[in-house]
């Protein structure tokens, strides 16, 4: 039996069944529906993007730029900054903006963008450039390394957590499927924004620091999002519907 004949058999299966009348509970709910303000995805993007940008704006206004900035080559500074920026914008857009004519964002693409951001932005650390004599390198001891690692990771969490909070509020009823992938994309976007901010502010160089602390924020953000969003979806699903 070929796939073609199977397809023909399946195409004969009736797609419709006579539906019963709406139940009393359903009729009572929809008797006089209140007009609602429908979702505008661009507004959601601005809300989540704005929540993520709040701390970087504060940080750039309060902290000095990295001391070695003028000693670093422009051909390296600008493309790397663009990569961090793309890591923020692309996953966020894919997680929040549905394709034209669709109600829900494509969580599959958002998930792939989160994965790509986590891999590529962690790899940025491997091509990091230091200005000899100007860039501060973390102490070779474990204590020195972990002190600066935690410093930059906690900086990243100041960006990732508001982004995830805003994302859960904005998407609580939207994420019917693929909540983990949507969460991962928003978390990774927050981590990438943290990387962009640290690219301009963090005085610490060295491949290991940039890979594990700046790139690590992207991985940590994606993991946090992938854990938190399904939990929120489950909680929203567990709340009984108002009649």
């Amino acid at each position: 039996m070929s796939n073609g004949s199977l397809s023909r058999d399946l195409a004969l299966v009736p797609t419709e069944r006579p539906a019963p009348r709406p139940s009393a509970a359903l009729l009572a709910s929809v008797e006089q529906p209140k007009p609602v303000r429908t979702r505008v995805p661009l507004r959601t993007l601005l809300l989540v993007g704005g929540a993520a940008l709040a701390y970087p704006v504060y940080a750039f206004s309060q902290f000095p730029l990295r001391a070695d900035l003028d000693a670093l080559p422009g051909w390296w500074l600008a493309p790397v900054a663009l990569m961090w920026l793309a890591g923020f914008v692309l996953p966020l857009m894919l997680a929040l903006l549905p394709a034209r004519g669709h109600v829900l964002p494509n969580e599959g693409r958002a998930g792939r963008a989160a994965l790509a951001a986590a891999i590529l932005l962690t790899a940025i650390g491997l091509v990091t450039i230091d200005a000899p004599g100007r860039t501060t390198l973390p102490a070779s001891s474990w204590a020195g390394f972990s002190h600066w690692w935690w410093h930059c990771i906690s900086f990243g969490l100041h960006i990732v957590i508001p982004a995830l909070l805003a994302g859960t509020i904005a998407l609580a009823r939207v994420m019917l499927v693929g909540a983990a992938r949507l969460g991962a994309a928003i978390g990774a976007a927050g981590g990438a924004l943290s990387g962009l901010t640290l690219h301009g502010l963090c005085p610490i160089g060295g491949a290991l620091h940039v890979t594990t602390a700046h790139g690590g924020a992207v991985v940590l953000g994606a993991l946090l999002g992938a854990l938190v969003f399904p939990l929120v979806r489950w909680l929203v699903g567990a709340v009984p519907f108002r009649r």
Binding site: M1, N3, L6, S7, D9, L10, A11, L12, V13, P14, T15, E16, R17, P18, A19, P20, P22, S23, A25, L26, S29, V30, E31, Q32, P33, K34, P35, V36, R37, T38, R39, V40, P41, P98, G101, H102, V103, L104, N106, E107, G108, R173, V174, L176, V177, G178, G237, F241, R242
Partner: protein, 205 residues
């Protein structure tokens, strides 16, 4: 996809968008029109998914109740049909999981009485055998009902309900590749099941 099918999809999208727009503006009539139009299709999908007529009818009511509660999520101008399928799919999965948990709880309770069989199967296979004039349809329905959930779901959406691979992936929250794989595996299982049944029928004749 042929140009005719394309036009039909465009028309479905336009009609759905217009109805949802009116419904979100507070027009109860639009809800009833939407229900009349989509409920038979969604019920067909839910029946195929959970293979139980009574449960499918309950889930249909719950799906439209959820649609009502979540109507503010709708994006004006978008085609609501795949979204409503997604709500139905999610509602069905949640319900099946809830029932599975309830069964486990009951089984662990030493005081609980054993579950008495109701002697009412209500399976799609039985329903279709009695109603369908065509034996091929009945066989296809019966074989579909015996497939693992994921494979049945992929075949139902793409081959029975005519959703595209991308839509089926979005509705089930998986990738296009995974849907293709499930269809392939579903075909393999179906071929075995239907081939076996046809051989039995032929030998009886």
């Amino acid at each position: 996809m042929s140009p005719g099918e394309d036009d039909e999809d465009m028309e479905t999208a336009r009609r759905g968008a217009a109805l949802m727009g009116r419904y979100c503006d507070g027009d109860a009539g639009a809800f009833h029109e939407l229900y009349e139009w989509l409920a038979p299709r969604i019920l067909g999908y839910l029946t195929g998914l959970c293979t139980d007529n009574a449960t499918a009818e309950d889930l249909l009511q719950l799906t439209f109740l959820k649609l009502h509660q979540a109507r503010s999520v709708y994006v004006r101008g978008a085609n609501p049909v795949p979204w409503i399928y997604t709500i139905a799919h999610r509602t069905c999965l949640d319900e099946l999981r809830k029932r599975q948990r309830a069964k486990v709880r009951l089984a662990r309770d030493p005081e609980a009485l054993p579950e008495i069989p109701a002697h009412v199967t209500g399976t799609a296979e039985a329903a279709m055998t009695s109603d369908a004039p065509d034996a091929a349809i009945a066989m296809a329905m019966g074989a579909l009902a015996s497939l693992p959930h994921n494979q049945r779901n992929a075949l139902l959406l793409t081959k029975v309900h005519g959703r595209t691979l991308a839509e089926a992936a979005a509705i089930t929250g998986t990738t296009v590749g995974a849907v293709k794989l499930r269809i392939h595996r579903g075909y393999t299982t179906l071929r075995k099941a239907l081939g076996g049944r046809r051989e039995i029928e032929t030998s009886h004749e």
